[in-house]
Each structure stands twice: as C-alpha cells, then as structure tokens.
C-alpha cells in the first residue's frame, strides 16, 4: 500500500514536472506556428508580441498589478473595506515595535553591507596571492548556496546555549566558557541577539562580495600595478590609491545589491527568533501584520515603505543601464 502510494506520488511528480516545463515550450511553438499563417508584413509586427506576451503577462500579474494594488490597500483598513488615509503609515512610523524594526534594519544595513563588502574586498585582494585560491574562494563562497532557513539552523547550533555548569554543545559558547566566561544566550540576550542574527547574513553575503570584487581586482591591468610599483608605491598604497579607485564601480554595485537584499531579509529573523525579543526587521513585521494580525492595510503600508527604500537603487540602476545602452 505504502509503496504504491509513493509510486503514484513519484509518477504524478514527474507528470507535473513534464507538464509544467513542457507546456510553456509547447505554447511558444504553437503560437509561432499560428503566426506563420499571417502575411509577412503583419507577421513581423505580430511576432515580437508573441515572444513578449508570456513575459509581460507574468510581470503584470505578479509584479506590476500587485504593486499598484498594494499601494491602494495601504491606504485602507485591515480588511480593505474603508479608506483610512495615512493611518497605516502613521502607525508604521510611530508604533514602538515598528520603530525597533526600523532601528534593527538600519543596524542590519550598515553592518552587513559594511562588513561583507570590506571583508570581501580584503579577501579578494589577499586570495589573489595564494596558490590554493580556488579552494579558499569556494569555501567562503559556499554559504551562498545555502538557504536562509538552512543557515539559520546551522547558526542556531553555533549559538546553542546550555546553562552554566553543563557541557556546551554550541561552538561559540564552548569557546566563551573555555576562555573562562559565563555562557551567553546569544539569541535571547537583547544586547547581542541582533548582532548574532546579523552575523549570519554577513556569513552568507561575504562570499558574494568577494567573488564579484575578486573578478574586478583581476580585471585591473597588470601594467597599471607595475607602473605604480615603479613609481615607488608599496602594497598598501597600491591598495588604497590604485585598486580601490579602479574597482569603485563594482564596490557600488555589490553594496547596492546587498542593501536591497538586506532590506528584504525576513527568513533569518523569522526562523531564528520569530522577531521576538526586539529582533524584528521591517520585512518580518510585514509578515506578522499580514498573517498573525490579519491587518492587510498595515502590512501593505510596511511593504510600501520597503519599496520606497529601494527606489533610489532602482533609479540608479536605470541610469546605469541607460548609460550602458548609450555606450553600445
């Protein structure tokens, strides 16, 4: 019985995969075949839209229209029945839990971006000089493949706490105890818990920063470095006066990418502490408003605040893209 049920499950899984993947390709072939019956002039005008339509449809359905809808809901009450003006926004900027979330988010932004990028840069420069570079890079980069949930479990284990006197099974507390201190409740102690969570994100993102910065560092022409050396620059001067200015644009790109990611981070807080003990961030508050308190107005207002926060990045991206196009 159990076996046949599992077999059925597996078969339906394969069927689902084939249908989901094959369906979309069949769609394109079918549409293209139909368009071939149109005269040439019309065909060349219709065909681009045949290729674009599925993309535009999902973009509209999942990003553009919902974004507009969320904007509207953010001005309405918890069940989106009555217009409440700016109430939800006033709540978002005055409620004490929200203010803590803002503070935490700021902390996340500054620490994760600052440390990941600078550490990533240092590693990128240093790793260039060791023969086992690929291995070292792979090890540091590896966390990028791990989900926030998986990373959370890994670090819960690192932060595990046993009362004093018991054998510590968490690595961090074992070290603390070995150094002669009391074990710390990393996730419950309000002075350190936010930093404990932020450390996870740094662990995850440093590899990303390193890989991008490393390729930028390698892109600096060797003769520029050599010219600087002949001009009498030492390694530190080369780092500050040649390397950093030359990879400046990459540093900006990496930083903004991490900023956007950190703004949206929710999983780590959600899994590790559930946002309790003053560890909430904006994104996790939003899920709470939405699911726990069922207040869609407030949830939407918080989402809009997130959107507003990324708009400068959006504008910068578009500018950069337009310059890039102009240079083509």
């Amino acid at each position: 019985m159990q076996d046949t049920a599992n077999l059925m499950r597996l078969l339906s899984a394969i069927a689902a995969i084939v249908l989901g993947s094959g369906g979309i390709i069949a769609l394109f072939y079918g549409a293209n075949w139909l368009v071939n019956y149109l005269p040439y002039g019309l065909r060349s005008r219709v065909l681009p839209w045949v290729y674009m339509t599925p993309a535009l449809a999902v973009l509209a359905a999942f990003l553009i229209l919902p974004t507009i809808r969320t904007l509207i809901i953010s001005f309405m009450d918890r069940r989106s029945e009555a217009f409440v003006g700016l109430d939800n926004y006033i709540f978002a900027f005055t409620n004490s839990a929200m203010l803590i979330a803002f503070r935490n988010n700021l902390l996340w932004l500054v620490l994760v971006t600052g440390i990941s990028v600078s550490l990533g840069l240092v590693i990128a420069v240093l790793v260039d000089r060791v023969p086992y570079e690929p291995l070292a890079k792979a090890l540091i980069f590896l966390p990028m493949a791990i989900s926030f949930v998986g990373a959370s479990v890994i670090w819960r284990f690192v932060y595990a706490y046993q009362p004093p006197g018991f054998e510590q099974i968490g690595l961090l507390n074992a070290i603390v105890v070995a150094l002669g201190f009391e074990p710390v409740g990393w996730l419950v102690n309000r002075t350190v818990n936010n930093f404990a969570l932020i450390a996870i994100m740094i662990w995850l993102q440093t590899g990303f920063a390193m890989v991008l910065l490393s390729s930028a560092v390698k892109g600096i022409p060797q003769d520029v470095i050599e010219a600087a050396r002949i001009d009498g620059a030492n390694e530190f001067q080369i780092f500050w006066r040649i390397t950093i200015p030359m990879i400046n644009s990459t540093i900006v790109v990496v930083s903004t990418t991490i900023i956007v990611l950190v703004l949206k981070v929710f999983d780590i807080v959600f899994v590790m502490t559930g946002g309790n003990l003053d560890t909430d961030v904006i994104a996790s508050r939003m899920i709470k408003e939405m699911f726990n308190f069922r207040n869609f107005g407030r949830g939407s207002a918080i989402a809009v605040i997130l959107l507003l926060a990324v708009i400068p990045v959006m504008v910068a991206n578009i500018r950069r893209f337009q310059q890039q196009e102009a240079n083509r």
């Binding site: 005269p39 040439y40 002039g41 060349s44």
Partner: protein, 368 residues
Amino acid sequence: MAHIVFEQVTKQYENGFVAVKDLNLAIEADEFLVLVGPSGCGKTTCLRMLAGLETISQGSIYIDGQRINQRSPRERDIAMVFQSYALYPHMSVFDNMAFSLQLQGTPKADIQQRVQAAATQLGIEGLLDRKPKQLSGGQRQRVAVGRAIVRNPAAFLMDEPLSNLDAKLRVQARAELSKLHKKLGTTFVYVTHDQVEAMTMGSRIAVMNQGILQQVDTPQNLYKRPNNMFVAGFMGSPAMNFFQASLQPAGDQLWIEAGTLRLPVPASVKASLQPYLGQPLVFGIRPENIYDPQFAPPGINPVELKATVSVVEMMGHEVIVYLALVDGHEFLARIDPRSRFQPGQTVQVSFDMNRFHLFDRASEQALV
C-alpha cells in the same frame, strides 16, 4: 542568375537620416556589379535592402521582375558574405555550409554532396570538421564564400568580404573571387570602399556618395570619363589633382587659367568648350598624366611648367612626387622611377593635355 532592379529606392532611418536617396540601378544577370564609395555613403544599406535586412522606405526592388519589398530574406533566394564572415561559432565548417540547405529541407545525401563539391572547389575540404575558431582568416573567408555557393542562389551579395584579410591574401582572394564569378556565371553584387577592388573585379562599378548614386559604368569608362568631381577624385590612387580654373581666349587659342598656370586647350575640344568661357571651373589631371619631361613617353601632348619638389616617395616601380606651383598650389605626380627629382629642387614637369578633365565649379559636373 538574377536581374536586379532598384527603382527610385530611398532609405530613411527613424532618426530622419537619409542613407540612400532615389536610387535607380539595373543590375544585369551574370554581372559583377561593385558598389563603391566612402564609408557612410549608403552602399551597404543598398545591399542590406536587397538582402531584406533593412526595410525599404520608398521605391521598389525587383529580382527577375518580381517586386520583393515585402519578402523576408529567406524568400529572396540570395546568399550573402559578410565582412565579419558571420560564421556560426558553435557549428563545424560542414554545418555552417549545410545550414541553409538543412533549413530548406534538402535531403541529407544531397547536402553532403553539395557541401563536398563547394569545399573542393574552394580547397577547404580538409577543414569540414573544424570549428570556425580553429581557422585562419583566409580559411574563414573561404568558408563564408562556400556557405554562399552551396545554396546556388540567384545572386551573391558581398559586403566588404576581403577587408579583414592582410594585403597579400587580399590580392589572391580578389583573383579567386573573379574566377569564381566567371565559373558560376551568377549575379554578384559586391560592396567595397576600396577602389582598387572595384576596378579589378567589377564588370561595372556603381559609385555612391552621401546616399546618391554618382555614376555607373565599366571600370575603364569610369576612370576615363568620370561624370563629376567626386567620381574623378574617388577612383584612382593617388587621387586626381584639382585646380580652380577658368577658360580664357587669347588669339585663336583657348587657355585654361588656374592661378599662375596657363595651359592651352587642344584644338580637338576647343569647340565644345566655347560655351564655358569665363565661367568658374575646376581643372583636373591625374598624377599619372604628369611626367618628368626626360622620361615622357611619345604620343602625349606635353605642356611644361615649373614646380618645386617637396617630398619624393620611392615605390619601386614608380615615384610619387609632391609638388608645388609658384603660387603654392600643391599637386601630386606619379612619374618614372628613373627620374632624379630631389626634394627642394625646382623642376620642369609635363602635363599631358590630352588627358585632362574640366568640371563646373558649382555643380561639380564634368564638361568634357
């Protein structure tokens, strides 16, 4: 073997730029027509409109009497060789050459046979399994040509196919393309900015400038009787020398006066030039029609004049001399290598007055 006609064809881009203006051109079947002109003159646009890669803003293009404006490239039965060769980098040489046949649904054995034949003809049968990356420039060029000939198309379009070859290979490839044209007997439309390629390969040459067709003729006629100053200056290297001039009568003789120059007009053309007396003109003479009097061949109509040598470029089989008249007007002469002209010398040179050109200064059109 297609007869191609451009009828009042105009190409205007969305930004308003007119690349080709009111082009009328008939290309005979089996002809090797070269479209030549400086970069940006519209010659490539013409070719691309013919290929269907560019829409036609106004006018019509006909292939064998059929209007093809609304046909997609694949419905035009033409093959094209690109300047970059545009070989598909992920396909072997064989697949590159077979691609168009595969798309037509040609039977496999047939494809095999045609590709093999084309490869043998071009001497690339040993390269069929290679990827384009593994080929030299010359080999790539052959593959690009091979890709065109397997199709046996009504017309070959070539867009500067030799410009990526080094000088020596280019000379060789030029001769091979000419041979290929004779052998295939198909219409070739060939775009180049290089007037040497145009002169050596074309059965007729169409010279374009700023989107406008200047003149279409055989290489000889184009060289001997350019329609206007642009064609005169563009065809031939070094370019024709121009002097601002006017016609003045003195006694029963007509004189071309250009600054300090005073040149007698030969009696044979005197009558036809009479209407232009006193008008602003341009006098043109090619460097090869200027001689060191010591080595002037018989049969010319020499008029000697004084000039100062500034630079002498020894080319081996000829010498290019940069000269200046007393009034400072500079010109070039291509003279016999035995000549002893030295920089700084003031020398006598001979203009062959049987081989000069006169143009109207305002319209730049040729008079004789």
